[in-house]
Each structure stands twice: as structure tokens, then as C-alpha cells.
């Protein structure tokens, strides 16, 4: 609980600071206003933009539904980065792992027949396994050859996206009668149920049960870290791999396990997108989520609660950003800027403290990365 409040407080302050900088950016990039000197208009743009940003994320059922939809993959892929950080690994490969998971879940989702209560969990688990195996490649390469995961996961992302492009053009995956790389539809039984499905005629409320999958995964992550021997081993390896080896922990196996877990979380992100949000797969399935996932994990300091808070915040920003773009002439890309600023402000507690004169000590989160050697 204490952790949650602390996490919320710092996130909030960082959000405030970055909205401030964002406002400045909106004003100084209003070329028309700059030319005409009409700053009143520029400031009113900021006001409308932020108003629709907020309304688009929390105001009304539809906004909340959009926030939930946006949060789900961010939370799962954020966990994929967090669990790797905890074990001292920097997983840039959430994108590739998500693609692998998404494609596996998709395949199960359109080939299998049977009752829905069985199909949905099986497809999600298949996604987790697909992602885990793909994430495991980087783990095995690191353990066997020492190849740095920063490089291998970047390469694996590109490889995955070409693989998906190819797969989506094969007869197994491509939708009949379509020339472009787009997949068959997941059968209805295997779709994740919509959260607001009970409301008749509200097809715009797309939030689906994938959110509960993500919450469950967050709980599992917490349990793993705090309660299990494996979690203890992962944390020890991440904090001091020499001491972990000394204590008889098998650091190479732990590297592989950590990457399997990371891939599993990211794979579930792919699965929930395919089985919940879209119902099919396309090349834009994972988008830029690997980067967003890193931001979520950094902001959440890799803790289960922190990752949850960060994912909800980023999900809300994403939902709000779209409505901001629709209602004003401020592009949705402002959201990426805001995210970067939030991460920066949270990473530099001294700066936020100076800005808001907060009197409290911030615990250092340690280093995520200890050079190229280890």
C-alpha cells in the first residue's frame, strides 16, 4: 500500500511536469499563432487539447473502455521488460515476443474448435508459450555465447516482423480473397469476451477480458518475486550475479528462465490483442509497443505495482491522445513526447524535487545496466 502511494505520487508529479513542458511545446509550435501573434488562440489550443486528452481517457464509459483496451498490452509487455530488469537483463525484444505470441494464439484461435471456456484459455496459453519460446532464444544465446541481449533482442524484433509478414502471406494464415498480408479471423468462441458485452448496442465499448488476464499476470509477477524461490533467485542474480553464482544459483539457467518469462508475458500481450482487440492479425499487430513497454517498466521501476500504475497511465494517455488528435490539430505523437518526459522526470528525482520542492527521499532504483560485460 505504501509502495502504491509513493509510486502514484511520483508518477503524478512527473506527469504534471511533463504536461507543463508539453503545453510549452504546443504553444511554440503553433506556427500560425506565432506569425499572427495571437497567443490567446495558442493557449486555448492547449486547454482544448488537454481537456479532450482527459475526457478521452476517463470521461464516460467509452473513454474508460478505451483506456482499458490500451492498458492491457502495455501492462503485459511492461511486465515482460520488468521481469527481465529484475534479473539484470535489458529486454528490448517485447515487440518480437509479442508478435510470436500473437501469431501462435491466432493459429490456435482459428484452427481449434470446441467450447469457448476451453478455447479462450488455451489460445492465451498458446500465445504465452509462443512468446516465451521466442524470448528464450535471446536467453539461450546470452547463456551459451554471452551475446548481449540488447543486440540480440533488437535483431530478433526485425526477424520476427519479417517472419510475420511472410506468414501472413501463406495460405495457412492469409484471409481468403485478400491480396494484402492480413490474417483469417479468430473464431467467435475463441474471442476474449467483451467487458461491456452486457450493454446492448454499445459495440463501441471494445474493452475485453484481456484486462483481467493482464491483472492476473501482474499478480503472478508479484507472487513470483516476493514469495517464490525462483523469484528470490532472479532478484539475487539481477542485483549481484557474482553473489548469486557463489550462492549456488545457476545464473545461466536463470537468464534463460527470465527471458522465457519475459517472452511469456509479451506473448500474452500479443494473444490478448489478437483474441480481444482485433480478432485477427496484421503487420501492425505490435506497432511500437516494445519501446512503450520499456517506458512502462522504467517508470514503474520494475515493481509489480509500479508497472501497473505506469501501464494505466500510459494506456489512458494513449486513449486520450486519440481523442485529442480528433478534436484539435495537436497530433497524437505528443503522447510519445509526454511519455519520454515522464520517464525522464521519474528517472531524475532530483529534478522533480527541485521543481516541486518535495521533501522526501527517493530510493534509488539501482542500475538497470552494468556495462557490456555482464
Amino acid at each position: 500500500m505504501k509502495e502504491l502511494i509513493k509510486s502514484l505520487r511520483y508518477t503524478f508529479l512527473a506527469l504534471l511536469a511533463s504536461l507543463l513542458v508539453g503545453a510549452i511545446i504546443i504553444v511554440v509550435t503553433d506556427i500560425d499563432a506565432l506569425k499572427s501573434g495571437d497567443f490567446g488562440k495558442a493557449f486555448s489550443t492547449v486547454f482544448t487539447a488537454y481537456k479532450s486528452l482527459f475526457q478521452g481517457s476517463f470521461w464516460g464509459l467509452r473513454s474508460i473502455s478505451n483506456t482499458i483496451t490500451g492498458t492491457t498490452p502495455l501492462l503485459l509487455s511492461g511486465l515482460a521488460v520488468s521481469v527481465a530488469f529484475k534479473a539484470g537483463l535489458f529486454n528490448i525484444g517485447a515487440t518480437g515476443q509479442m508478435l510470436a505470441g500473437g501469431m501462435t494464439a491466432l493459429w490456435v484461435g482459428f484452427t481449434m474448435t470446441g467450447p469457448g471456456w476451453l478455447q479462450v484459455p488455451l489460445a492465451v496459453i498458446a500465445g504465452a508459450i509462443g512468446g516465451a519460446l521466442y524470448g528464450g532464444i535471446a536467453g539461450v544465446l546470452k547463456a551459451r555465447t554471452g551475446a548481449h541481449e540488447v543486440i540480440t533482442t533488437i535483431m530478433l524484433n526485425s526477424i520476427a516482423s519479417f517472419l510475420v509478414l511472410w506468414l501472413l502471406k501463406t495460405t495457412t494464415f492469409q484471409r481468403e480473397g485478400r491480396p494484402d498480408p492480413i490474417s483469417k479471423l479468430v473464431v467467435d468462441e475463441a474471442r476474449l469476451p467483451r467487458l461491456f458485452g452486457f450493454l446492448d448496442g454499445r459495440s463501441d465499448l471494445v474493452a475485453h477480458a484481456g484486462f483481467f488476464v493482464a491483472l492476473l499476470a501482474t499478480f503472478a509477477y508479484w507472487y513470483l518475486l516476493k514469495r517464490t524461490t525462483l523469484g528470490f533467485e532472479l532478484r539475487a542474480t539481477g542485483l549481484n550475479s557474482d553473489a548469486a553464482k557463489y550462492a549456488g544459483m545457476k545464473s545461466k539457467s536463470l537468464t534463460v528462465v527470465a527471458m522465457l518469462l519475459a517472452g511469456g508475458f509479451a506473448g500474452m500481450a500479443g494473444a490478448t490483442e489478437v483474441l480481444g482487440t482485433y480478432g485477427y492479425a496484421s503487420t501492425s499487430l505490435a506497432g511500437n509497443i516494445g519501446f512503450d513497454a520499456i517506458a512502462v517498466a522504467l517508470l514503474g521501476q520494475s515493481s509489480p505495482i509500479g508497472t501497473l500504475v505506469a501501464a494505466v497511465l500510459f494506456g489512458a494517455l494513449q486513449a486520450g491522445g486519440r481523442s485529442m488528435q480528433a478534436n484539435t490539430d495537436v497530433p497524437v505523437d505528443l503522447i510519445i513526447v509526454l511519455r519520454a518526459l515522464i520517464v525522464m522526470f521519474v528517472a531524475a528525482p532530483l529534478l522533480v524535487k527541485a521543481m516541486f520542492r518535495v521533501k522526501s527521499q527517493v530510493t534509488s532504483q539501482g542500475q538497470t545496466f552494468r556495462g557490456w560485460g555482464g
Binding site: T29, A147, V150, S158, L334, A340, L341, A347, R370, G371
Partner: protein, 404 residues
């Protein structure tokens, strides 16, 4: 004495040769026909029988693999490895083009041109990491440099645009420096935040400013310059010396940095700051200032690398135009073992892969084009897995410097 690790490495190289042999004998020998390579713009061309080539090279690889596994190739192993790679590439090209022909000289010229941003990005990485700061933000610096270079050059002229790009790279480098050196924030976090920021702000601005004002994003890029005499050398001259000023700058930068890093006072201090900063600090070297200065230089170099897109080639900025080249540059740094020449060769390899894929991605080879497209990444994966174990990163890279 040979340790278990060294034996393992030698064995892996041996298996590598056998792997090349299998690929050459099984895949590259499939397509009979001659491959035509135009060696000059004029039309002098080389014709290679693809199948025979594959068989010969395949057998050579088997021999090399056997020799390596049996007793190791000793001192010449690196040279042999380089030759084998060249042979493999040759065989691959013959296979892919068999029955057709294309301009080899054009492709290699394209390779050299495309290597510019990767080389300069990698040099920026080396400058930072050799002085003890990990630079994940190369991508962001390239992207921001490209954007500001495009706007600056469109509004004024090419020179001024390049200077603006340099200043932009330096600004981001300064942010990296302040946060990682002064506030001691985790260098990877700052680097990533800079990448997010650069991606976000350039996309944002390109929609908000460039789209409604197209004249902010329209310029005529620089033309290639033929170096007198040198460009007349057959084959080589066309590839190396009919290029834009960006290419010549990157050649010069590689040479200058190599000299400076290993032959000057600055280089000695920089390497000391990256290996064991306290040793320099206790002798009165101001490590903090040194790191600040080197980061700023790195930012400037990356800024020029970014300016290559609008000013050196396409004449405009597009959203996310760098497309991950900054990360490829990072891979080149590791591939080149933190040495400018090594990183340059890494950059050439990646640029070559890019040029190949653009050139022969259209040929019908019987293998889905996606697999050809992913080949460079697969190769990097294999190379990094095979090489990085032997590389030696600057020891202090990633560690904030504590003056005490």
C-alpha cells in the same frame, strides 16, 4: 596454453565454416545459370557460373571447417575468416543473380553511401563509451539531426542546415551528459528517454509544422563530387571517390578518430576515463569535463550522421526516417570492438546488406523475399553470438563517475 573457452570458440568457428558449406552446397548450388556483374558504369562486366562457384566454394568451406576443427588455423584464422566471408558473399550474389545481371559497382557505391549514418552513429557511440558513458541515444540523435537538418536546410541553405543538425545532436548529447554525469541517472534510462523524445517530437512536429508548411521540408540535396585522379581508378574509384561530401567526411572522421584515440593526449585521457576513471582523476585529469566534452563531440558527429538523410540523399524529412539505424550503429560499435576502423567495417557490412536487399530483393530466387530481408539481422545475430565473447568493452562504460 589453451583454455576451455578458447577451444570452444575455435570449435564454434569450425562449425561456422561447415554451416557456410551446407548453405553454399545445398541452397546456392540450386540455380544453374550465369550471374552477370557490371563492374563499371560503362558496361565492362564479369560473368560467373553460379552453380560451379557454389560447388567450389562449398568444398573450400568443408576443408576450412575440417582444418579448424582438427587443429585450428592459428595465427591466420582472422584473415581466413575474412576471405571466407568474402567468398560466401560472392557465392550468394551469384546465386541470387544467376540468369540475370546487375551493376555491382552501383550496388557497392550505394553501400558506401548508406554506411555514412551508421558509421557516424557508431563513432558517436565509440566517443561516448570510450570515455565511460553508454550511449543508447544514437538513434534519437540521428533522428533529431535529420529533422532539424531538413528544416534548417529548407529555410536557409545546406551548410546552415548541417550546422543546425550538428547543434541539435549536441543539444541531445548535452541532455545525456547532464542527466548521466551530473544527476547520475542510469545512462540507459536517459538514453532511451532521449530516443522516445526524439521520435515523439519529430513525429509531432512533422505533422503539426511540416505538413501544413511544405516549404519547411523541401530542399535539393548535395551532389556527388568526383575526386580528381582518384575517381579515375577503375572499379574502386567509382565506388569510393564519386560520392557526396558526407562520405568523405565519414572517411576522414574514421581516420581522425583512430589517430586521435591511440596517438594523442586526448585519446590517452579518454581511454583512461573509460577504463579506470579514478586513475585519471587522481592525476588531476578532470574526468567530468572530459566526459562532457566528448559527449558533445559525439552529439555533433551524430548530428552530421542525421543530416545525411535530408541533405545527403533524399532531400526531405519523413517520420521515423532513421528506422532503427541508430541501433544498428550500436551493434556496429560492439561488432567493431569499440575501435573506429572495426565499427566502420561493421557499418559497411550492414550497409551492404541493405544495398543487397534493395538491389536483388526483386529477383526471383525461389525463396520468399522476407527471408532475404531478414538475412542481415540473422547474420548480425550469429556474428554477435560468435564474436562478443572475445570482445573487450571499456570497463567503466555505464558507471557514473564519483570524484571520491
Amino acid at each position: 596454453m589453451i583454455s576451455a573457452e578458447q577451444k570452444k570458440r575455435a570449435r564454434n568457428v569450425g562449425y561456422g565454416y561447415l554451416g557456410l558449406a551446407v548453405i553454399t552446397l545445398v541452397i546456392f548450388s540450386r540455380r544453374p545459370g550465369d550471374a552477370g556483374f557490371r563492374l563499371t558504369e560503362g558496361g565492362f562486366s564479369l560473368t560467373l557460373p553460379a552453380q560451379q562457384f557454389a560447388y567450389i566454394f562449398g568444398i573450400v568451406f568443408v576443408g576450412l571447417g575440417a582444418a579448424q576443427l582438427w587443429r585450428g588455423l592459428g595465427k591466420v584464422s582472422n584473415i581466413v575468416l575474412a576471405l571466407a566471408t568474402a567468398m560466401f558473399v560472392m557465392s550468394f550474389l551469384s546465386w541470387a543473380t544467376s540468369g540475370e545481371s546487375f551493376s555491382l559497382v552501383g550496388m557497392l557505391q550505394d553501400t558506401v553511401s548508406r554506411s555514412v549514418p551508421i558509421t557516424l552513429g557508431a563513432l558517436a557511440g565509440i566517443l561516448c563509451e570510450r570515455s565511460g558513458v553508454i550511449n543508447i541515444a544514437i538513434e534519437g540523435m540521428l533522428l533529431a539531426g535529420a529533422f532539424m537538418g531538413a528544416v534548417g536546410a529548407s529555410l536557409t541553405n545546406l551548410w546552415f542546415g548541417t550546422i543546425i543538425a550538428i547543434l541539435t545532436g549536441m543539444l541531445l548529447a548535452w541532455v545525456l551528459a547532464v542527466f548521466s554525469i551530473k544527476y547520475r541517472v542510469d545512462q540507459v534510462i536517459v538514453g532511451f528517454a532521449i530516443n522516445f523524445f526524439a521520435l515523439g517530437i519529430t513525429s509531432f512536429l512533422s505533422f503539426r509544422v511540416l505538413v501544413p508548411n511544405p516549404d519547411y521540408n523541401s530542399l535539393v540535396p548535395v551532389m556527388p563530387i568526383s575526386v580528381p585522379l582518384l575517381s579515375k581508378i577503375p572499379f574502386i574509384g567509382q565506388i569510393l571517390f564519386v560520392q557526396t561530401i558526407f562520405v568523405y567526411f565519414s572517411f576522414a572522421a574514421v581516420a581522425l578518430l583512430t589517430w586521435a584515440m591511440y596517438r594523442t593526449r586526448w585519446g590517452l585521457r579518454t581511454r583512461a576515463a573509460g577504463e579506470y576513471p579514478k586513475a585519471a582523476g587522481t592525476l588531476g585529469v578532470d574526468v567530468i569535463r572530459l566526459r562532457y566534452r566528448n559527449l558533445l563531440i559525439a552529439g555533433a558527429v551524430a548530428g552530421i550522421g542525421g543530416a545525411w538523410w535530408p541533405i545527403g540523399t533524399v532531400g526531405r524529412f519523413d517520420q521515423n526516417i532513421t528506422g532503427g539505424r541508430g541501433f544498428i550503429a550500436l551493434a556496429a560499435v560492439i561488432f567493431g570492438r569499440w575501435h573506429p576502423v572495426g565499427a566502420f567495417s561493421g557499418a559497411i557490412v550492414f550497409a551492404f546488406a541493405e544495398a543487397v536487399r534493395l538491389k536483388i530483393g526483386n529477383f526471383d530466387t525461389g525463396i520468399p523475399s522476407e527471408f532475404l530481408l531478414m538475412a542481415p539481422y540473422l547474420v548480425t545475430l550469429v556474428v554477435v553470438a560468435g564474436f562478443v565473447g572475445a570482445s573487450r568493452a571499456p570497463k567503466a562504460a555505464g558507471q557514473p563517475y564519483d570524484e571520491q
